[in-house]
């Protein structure tokens, strides 16, 4: 709640045409989120329209006032990250964007690994986990979520193949993420079932058409030089991966030495590969818009 001021006599001297100003400490409380050593301060915004009415300030929220005051300043924009300021936005809305960017934006990652052979010193589980950490150059907006009952098809699954071997007598080999081969036709591993001569051999996926016809660019890995394993002579890594659509975390951070964030609007987005950072933020805005529409339809 805003505190009443004892400077009532000052109002008589101010011209009535001029806009009223809050005292400095109240203005800081209203518009700033200060990052203290222990916790941020002033994170709760005053929602009451008459919070500062004693000072002659109208604290009501209107779309017209927001459109007039709100602006975005982009500090840095590269292929993998961007940094911008949102000025004139409430701290809670800025935090909503932060949480959506972290936890609710879908991204593509390797989820299932079918291991055919692995004679390297790295265990199968560790190798699979390392594959799951590889950023993929795939747009999640082109894919659908895959639930428990869904059959993997070209709309919700990407198939990669990794087949690397180190010959006897050759030097030590490093398996990179560039060795992952995209299979647009789907998996080629046959299912362990008795083969029926009538039908085509069943595989782990059911692609009715090639993914090349659906997507405009080939699906690959974002970085081709990520080390997956090192093979000595005679060792083989041969497996395929089936990847579903996951909602996984993206990195969002604030600069370390920030002590005074104007409306908590300084944002740094670091993309993991599938989408550029500016597309990530527009996706976050769209998700928040869908949430608001869901609440509105629930209230009516």
């Amino acid at each position: 709640m805003g505190s009443k001021s004892s400077k009532d006599t000052d109002d008589d001297h101010e011209p009535k045409q001029q806009e009223k100003k809050l005292p400095e400490h109240l203005e800081v409380q209203r518009t700033r989120v200060v990052c203290k050593a222990d916790a941020p301060v002033n994170t709760e915004g005053f929602q009451y329209a008459g919070a500062y009415s004693a000072m002659g300030i109208d604290n009501s929220v209107s779309a017209e006032k927001f459109c007039k005051n709100f602006k975005v300043e982009i500090s840095r924009l590269t292929e993998d990250d961007m940094e911008f300021d949102m000025i004139g936005i409430d701290a809670s809305i800025a935090n909503a964007f932060r949480r959506i960017l972290i936890a609710e934006l879908p991204t593509m990652a390797i989820e299932k690994v079918l291991m055919v052979d692995n004679t390297s010193v790295i265990a199968d589980e560790v190798l699979s986990h390392r594959l799951g950490l590889i950023p993929l150059d795939a747009d999640p907006r082109h894919f659908e979520y895959m639930s428990e009952n869904d059959v993997p098809n070209e709309r919700n699954t990407i198939v990669y193949k990794l087949h690397v071997s180190c010959k006897k007598g050759s030097p030590r080999l490093t398996v990179k993420s560039g060795d992952l081969e995209w299979l647009p036709e789907g998996s080629r591993l046959p299912l362990a079932s008795p083969a029926q001569s009538r039908y085509k051999q069943k595989t782990y996926t059911s692609f009715s058409q090639s993914q090349k016809d659906i997507l405009e660019k080939p699906l690959g890995v974002k970085f081709k030089d990520i080390t997956i394993a090192r093979l000595g002579p005679g060792q083989v890594v041969f497996r395929k991966e089936i990847k579903g659509d996951n909602a996984e975390k993206l990195v969002k951070k604030c600069p370390v030495n920030v002590f005074d964030i104007e409306d908590l609007g300084n944002v740094t987005i670091e993309s993991t590969g599938g989408l550029p950072p500016e597309a990530l933020f527009t996706e976050a805005v769209r998700i928040l818009e869908e949430k608001c529409e869901r609440v509105i339809s629930g209230l009516s």
């Binding site: 390797i110 989820e111 299932k112 690994v113 004679t119 699979s128 986990h129 799951g132």
Partner: protein, 62 residues
Amino acid sequence: MQHDPSSPAPMDPQQPKPVSYLCTDCGTETLLKPTDVVQCHECGCRILCKKRTRQVVQYEAR
């Protein structure tokens, strides 16, 4: 783990089936019965590994 067909069947103790092992030194395959000396037939190395299953194993990459 699924039952390995090359492992000895517990129902037949009178005729134990030999288990296939791989030598870590020379890489050759060695068939050993339960009463045999754990040793490679080719080079005499005593470190043997079980063979990997031929089935496709699925893992979670999480």
